[in-house]
């Protein structure tokens, strides 16, 4: 450990700030004058920026020295010789003091534009509206599928889920995967009484989808089988009859992120026979028996369904809208529903019609009265269902006129009236813009939307409607309950992927000659490995954020073990500790390292920008020119570090690269696929850097261990994480809830031992309340009404 957080370097930082703060009055005046004459035209009178000329405010965490050097060499734009030396120094001082280092708290709270449901919220809400019982199922702690082995096979072929004779049950257990191969033998340890040695296996449980989209399921077997997914009525693949040489079967099914989709697989080892005098006689002496279930997720390759995606619990089916939506705006780094397009509106129409069709088709089950049941009861139950559907879609409350409309439609049009009510609810802005009306259930709705992109369950809705969901501690306890919901976990997964810039649609491609064996499958394994570690930390007994960036645990299977030089054990994914080489938790996870690297080489710049923005909390402007990395062939003897230093050494570049480069170089021990290396281009890796934190502390770091030791102590790192977590879950900045919100959350985060789950609770509690703008608007409205209490409450 060679991190030095105090000493001469830190002192230098203080001195600089001090010097800036007490600049000579005369120099100040000179700087002000130069700024007004030469800079304000583009940067605004107070450094706020000028639209379409220079859009960014002049603020950041660059040092005065760098700023001075930059102005000296580059400003004004197009005539850098105009302002140099003393002039440059004094205008730099002026800028630095007047606005560059000002606290970023704006005078007015940021406006929070009206937002429709995000795509994820739309899909999850629709699933909650149509199949609420799916989310209520308890997953339990066991993973894998329930399996039962039965003696013999049923006669004939029936395309439905069989109830098999318990007396024929040979073995019952939980399987980690569906992948068995018995050859021509009997399953080990089982006594088959059947005269032909035939047997049946039934796997049951649920598939948990890691993301929303189309999954291709594949079954490989030389035998017969039937597979159901998310629909107990119609098999997804019906191969109850074996035919010819076909041994591979595929079919597609839509699945929803973080949801359990019931699955059932019936397998039959049946031998070929012929009838001789009315009696079946074998015409094949032996037949191998094997079956393997794989899937291809939306951004993946075929692979066995991992154990942690399998539940032994058969969840009720979940409604999955198959409509494709245009993607949400992500320009601020998190999905927001602030943009309404015609394509989006069309998608909601298609989805509403499909949902109405679902209701029509399953009406009898949904209302609990058969088509030929008592007519009066049927009308009553249809009205109740339709009213409840509209009520839940509208955030928990329907007004009398809407309720009357629904009742009237059902009374007039019967089942058609129900589908009309569904269509109306799903096309109304009261559903599409959650919270547009202040219903009593608002806080419950916000909690569910923030934590799981979903609708609240009955309990939360009731608590809100009864007025119990007001006090922060009550909201917090409700939020803690929702935290256990798989949808929250799924959303957190998505956040982590966004934070670490390893979203699923990002494909890793590495040079095959340099990194043999690093293929798509390895990429998927790495993702699984990362997710297992994240789950470990986030949902384990000690959800300490610092473990994320300091841990040395790496989940591997044998394929990864081989590539990353670890022992192969023949087991599935297992955690190993990598203590003999430097590591910084998820930051040095091979997926993150490989993602921030080129095909053949590392990329200190990508890594540095990623760490600076996403982790350390530096402000970086986008580069003004696109650069090509210097061709390595021009400098065949240089290390990557040397080439980057050569290319970014100019003072123009150093405004940002003095932050970027050290953060990139400190990770140079990790090659383009994230393997530890000691040498680059035949020379020892130099991962020692001088670095200045966003808080202005200068330190010397040597390698990832040092960086991690610095990061776990850094308030800025925590603040940066808290801000991003807030933005991702609440889809708006923390400042919308008051300028001090982020500071408060960061302090609480520190006080709570950096507990990620508690931070999420605090975020949810904050976002379950009103924004500053909403409070101001309400106070204004109340003041118009002459309500003195509301006026007094106005901030």
């Amino acid at each position: 450990m060679s991190t030095r957080l105090s000493g001469p370097c830190a002192l230098t930082a203080v001195t600089l700030t001090f010097a800036a703060g007490t600049a000579l009055a005369a120099g100040d005046e000179r700087g002000r004058q130069i700024y007004a004459e030469e800079c304000a035209y583009c940067h605004g009178d107070k450094g706020e920026g000028v639209e379409d000329v220079y859009n960014f405010p002049l603020e950041g965490d660059t040092t005065l020295a760098t700023l001075t050097a930059y102005i000296d060499s580059s400003m004004p734009d197009g005539d850098p010789e105009y302002c140099v030396g003393e002039d440059a120094a004094s205008v730099a001082k002026f800028i630095f003091k007047e606005f560059y280092t000002r606290p970023t708290a704006p005078e007015t709270p940021p406006a929070v534009p009206l937002a429709r449901l995000t795509v994820s919220q739309y899909r999850q809400s629709l699933a909650d509206l149509l199949t609420p019982e799916n989310a209520a199922v308890d997953w339990g702690d066991t993973r894998g599928l329930r399996v039962g082995y039965f003696d013999g096979v049923p006669r004939g072929s029936v395309s439905r889920q069989l109830t098999l004779d318990k007396k024929k049950l040979l073995v019952e257990r939980t399987d980690a995967r569906v992948d068995v191969d018995f050859g021509t033998e009997t399953p080990a340890g089982m006594q088959i009484a059947d005269e032909f040695g035939e047997f049946t296996i039934v796997w049951e449980g649920s598939l948990v989808a890691p993301e929303t989209g189309t999954y291709d399921l594949r079954v490989e077997t030389p035998n017969s089988f039937q597979l159901w997914v998310n629909d107990a009525a119609e098999p997804l693949i019906d191969a109850g009859v074996r035919s010819g040489d076909q041994t591979e079967y595929t079919a597609s099914v839509e699945m929803l992120e973080g949801r359990a989709h019931p699955v059932r697989l019936q397998f039959f080892k049946r031998l070929r026979k012929k009838k001789v005098n009315g009696k079946p006689v074998l015409i094949e002496k032996t037949r191998p028996a094997s079956i393997r279930l794989s899937w291809r997720p939306p951004h993946g390759e075929y692979r066995p369904v991992a154990t942690h995606r399998l539940l032994p619990v058969s969840a009720p089916p979940v409604y999955v809208a198959s409509t494709s939506f245009p993607p949400d705006d992500r320009s601020l780094g998190y999905p927001r529903g602030t943009f309404v397009s015609e394509a989006w509106d069309e998608a909601t129409t298609s989805a509403a019609i499909a949902a109405a069709g679902f209701v029509e088709e399953h009406l009898d089950d949904l209302i609990g009265v058969a088509a030929d049941g008592p007519a009066e009861k049927r009308v009553r139950e249809m009205t109740a269902f339709a009213t409840d559907f509209v009520r839940r879609a509208f955030g928990g409350t329907v007004d009398d006129a809407t309720a009357a409309f629904v009742t009237d439609r059902v009374a007039t049009d019967g089942p058609d009236g129900v589908t009309m009510a569904v269509l109306y609810a799903l096309k109304s802005p009261r559903f599409l813009y959650p919270g547009i009306e202040r219903t009593p259930e608002l806080s419950a709705n916000r909690l569910a939307a923030v934590l799981g992109d979903s609708l609240p369950d009955g309990r939360a809705t009731k608590a809100a409607a009864d007025g119990r969901l007001r006090k922060p501690e009550v909201i917090a306890s409700e939020a803690r309950r929702m935290l256990d919901d798989p949808r929250t976990r799924a959303k957190l997964h998505r956040f982590f992927a966004s934070w670490l810039e390893v979203e699923r649609d990002v494909a890793l491609s590495k040079n095959e000659d340099l990194f043999p064996g690093f293929d798509a499958a390895v990429g998927h394994d790495l993702r699984t490995s990362l997710e297992l570690f994240l789950d470990d930390v986030a949902w384990g007994p000690r959800p300490d954020f610092r473990r994320l960036i300091d841990g040395s645990t790496f989940y591997v299977n044998d394929r990864l073990a081989e590539i990353y030089g670890l022992d192969q054990t023949g087991d599935g994914f297992r955690p190993v500790r990598v203590d003999d080489t430097p590591s910084a938790g998820v930051i040095t996870h091979p997926l993150v390292m490989a993602r921030h690297a080129h095909e053949r080489e590392t990329s200190p710049i990508h890594r540095g920008v990623f760490l600076a923005r996403r982790v350390m909390g530096h402000t970086l402007r986008p580069p003004q020119v696109d650069f090509e990395l210097i061709d390595p062939e021009l400098h065949p003897d240089m290390t990557m570090r040397e080439r980057v230093e050569l290319q970014t050494g100019e003072v123009n570049c150093m405004v940002c690269h003095e932050k970027i480069n050290p953060l990139g170089f400190v990770l140079e021990h990790f090659d383009a696929v994230g393997r530890f290396r000691k040498a680059d281009n035949g020379r020892p890796v130099d991962a020692s850097v001088d670095y200045r934190t966003p808080d202005g502390v200068a330190v010397r770091l040597d390698g990832a261990d040092d960086w991690a030791a610095l990061a776990v102590e850094s308030v800025s790192v925590r603040r940066t994480f808290a801000r991003q977590l807030f933005e991702y879950f609440a889809a708006r900045p923390p400042a919308a809830y008051g300028a001090a919100t982020l500071d408060r959350l960061t302090e609480r985060f520190t006080a709570n031992d950096c507990d990620i789950r508690e931070l999420l609770v605090e975020i949810a509690v904050t976002a379950a309340g009103d924004t500053e703008a909403e409070r101001i608007a309400m106070a204004a409205a109340a003041s118009d009404d002459g309500d003195p209490i509301a006026v007094a409450a106005r901030p």
Binding site: V241, S243, S350, F358
Partner: protein, 438 residues
């Protein structure tokens, strides 16, 4: 939970970009462009016929209809009774399996693990069925393309996917599941249109919501909402346009008819009525209607007795009671087909040129020549209507030609000049000249 959505998807509903195509049955297809339409509807009824009550005694254009064919008397001059066609495809499977599985495919069954009442255990057919072959041919040409191409329908088909329950094949090992629920068929044909009408009926309320909510928002947020409301109005206008362009008569279905033996006659008629409507609307030019399945054991109480059909079909010829009942059953099939044919004969072509029957050939067939022998000789083939241009009003006895040649003739009649169909060794001699194709 995907069945319904599959339909919706087929109807062009769930893609965000094509709401304007909802259920525009033939819009976008140049369906009415060239020449007269040609259609083929295959009716399959199971378990063999009663030959003595089915085949006319004489051949040629002067023949008397035996009892089973009597219900079709009104169409005798538009009828072609074709005796002497054999399904000689051998190989895997029992008589029934090969009967149905090779009937429209002309090909053998794969070896499999489904053991029947005799022979070896079989799988699915090795080939595509002729209805799908013709439908693919028609769909490949914009001039003959229709919304669905083909409809594969059934009546009371058991919920078992096996060789006995599948007649149509999209290809080797690709059996097609017949739609036997009239409500699902209705959804497939008209669901999107219904949805659209319902959607139009609630848009006033949606607009009222937009208006009411807008007043409570800031100017900027109101702009967002106004913009959104404008998209909804655009969609509404397009609904109006579509509404006026589609004027097909949508059949009314009796509600709540469940699948049961007792409801079978109703279900059969509902399917046939929907099919007639679909042909009139030019949703498809090829269809199969499969009554129950090979070895089907429907108990037809509505005919006055409760015996299972397949069980009856195994009774010996000397069992007069069984023979009588089997004749009654097959007469019933003929009556329903006659009713369907009559419907076609009384529906004018939308182009105004003749009737649907003028351009449709209804083919009635069976997987066996006779139930109690499981013979594939003299498989029943009765063709009614003018769709394929055969010379009708005749009774033929071809004396034992492989049925592949008849299947080829069907394709050729559509202009699809296949050189073989199914197992090539059974295609020698090509199409059946005696049909008198134009």
């Amino acid at each position: 939970m995907q069945t319904r959505r599959d339909f919706v998807r087929q109807a062009g509903l769930s893609t965000a970009v094509t709401p304007f195509l909802w259920n525009l049955p033939s819009l976008g297809f140049a369906a009415n462009a060239a020449g007269p339409k040609q259609r083929l509807v295959v009716f399959f009824t199971p378990n063999g016929t009663v030959p003595k009550a089915f085949w006319p005694e004489s051949t040629g254009d002067d023949f008397t209809l035996p009892p089973i064919l009597e219900p079709l008397a009104a169409f005798q001059d538009r009828m072609l009774v074709v005796r002497g066609v054999n399904n000689d495809i051998g190989g895997e499977g029992d008589g029934h399996q090969r009967g149905i599985g090779c009937l429209l495919t002309g090909d053998e069954l794969f070896a499999g693990d489904l053991l029947g009442g005799g022979g070896t255990a079989a799988g699915w057919s090795r080939g595509i069925s002729i209805d799908q072959e013709i439908a693919n041919f028609l769909q490949a040409d914009a001039a003959t393309r229709t919304r669905f191409g083909s409809l594969v329908l059934g009546v009371l088909v058991p919920e078992k996917a096996n060789t006995w329950t599948r007649l149509s094949y999209a290809g080797p090992n690709k059996p097609l599941t017949p739609i036997d629920d009239p409500y699902r068929l209705f959804d497939k044909l008209y669901g999107a249109r219904e949805g659209r009408q319902k959607l139009a009926s609630i848009l006033d309320r949606v607009h009222a919501d937009f208006a009411a909510l807008g007043t409570k928002l800031s100017a900027e947020d109101r702009r967002t909402l106004d913009e959104h409301a404008e998209f909804v109005r655009g969609m509404e206008r397009s609904l109006d346009v579509q509404q006026s362009e589609v004027d097909h008569v949508v059949p009314e279905l009796e509600q709540g008819v469940r699948e049961s033996f007792a409801n079978t006659p109703k279900l059969f008629r509902m399917q046939n009525d929907l099919l007639a409507g679909a042909l009139a609307a030019d949703f498809a030019r090829v269809a199969t209607v499969q009554f129950s399945n090979s070895v089907g054991n429907v108990k037809m109480q509505w005919l006055g007795f409760g015996d299972s059909h397949h069980t009856l079909s195994h009774k010996p010829d000397r069992d007069d009671d069984a023979q009588k009942k089997l004749i009654t059953i097959n007469r019933y099939f003929a009556e329903e087909i006659a009713r369907f044919v009559d419907r076609l004969a009384s529906t004018p072509e939308p182009s105004g040129d003749g009737t649907l029957l003028d351009n449709t050939t209804v083919l009635w067939t069976n997987e066996l020549g006779k139930g109690n022998t499981h013979t594939h000789k003299d498989v029943p083939f009765v063709l009614v209507g003018g769709g394929l241009g055969f010379k009708t009003g005749r009774s033929l006895d071809l004396g034992g030609v492989p049925h592949n040649r008849l299947l080829m003739s069907l394709a050729h009649a559509f202009g699809h000049r296949v050189e073989t169909f199914g197992k090539a060794s059974f295609c020698k001699g090509g199409t059946v000249g005696e049909l008198g194709a134009a």
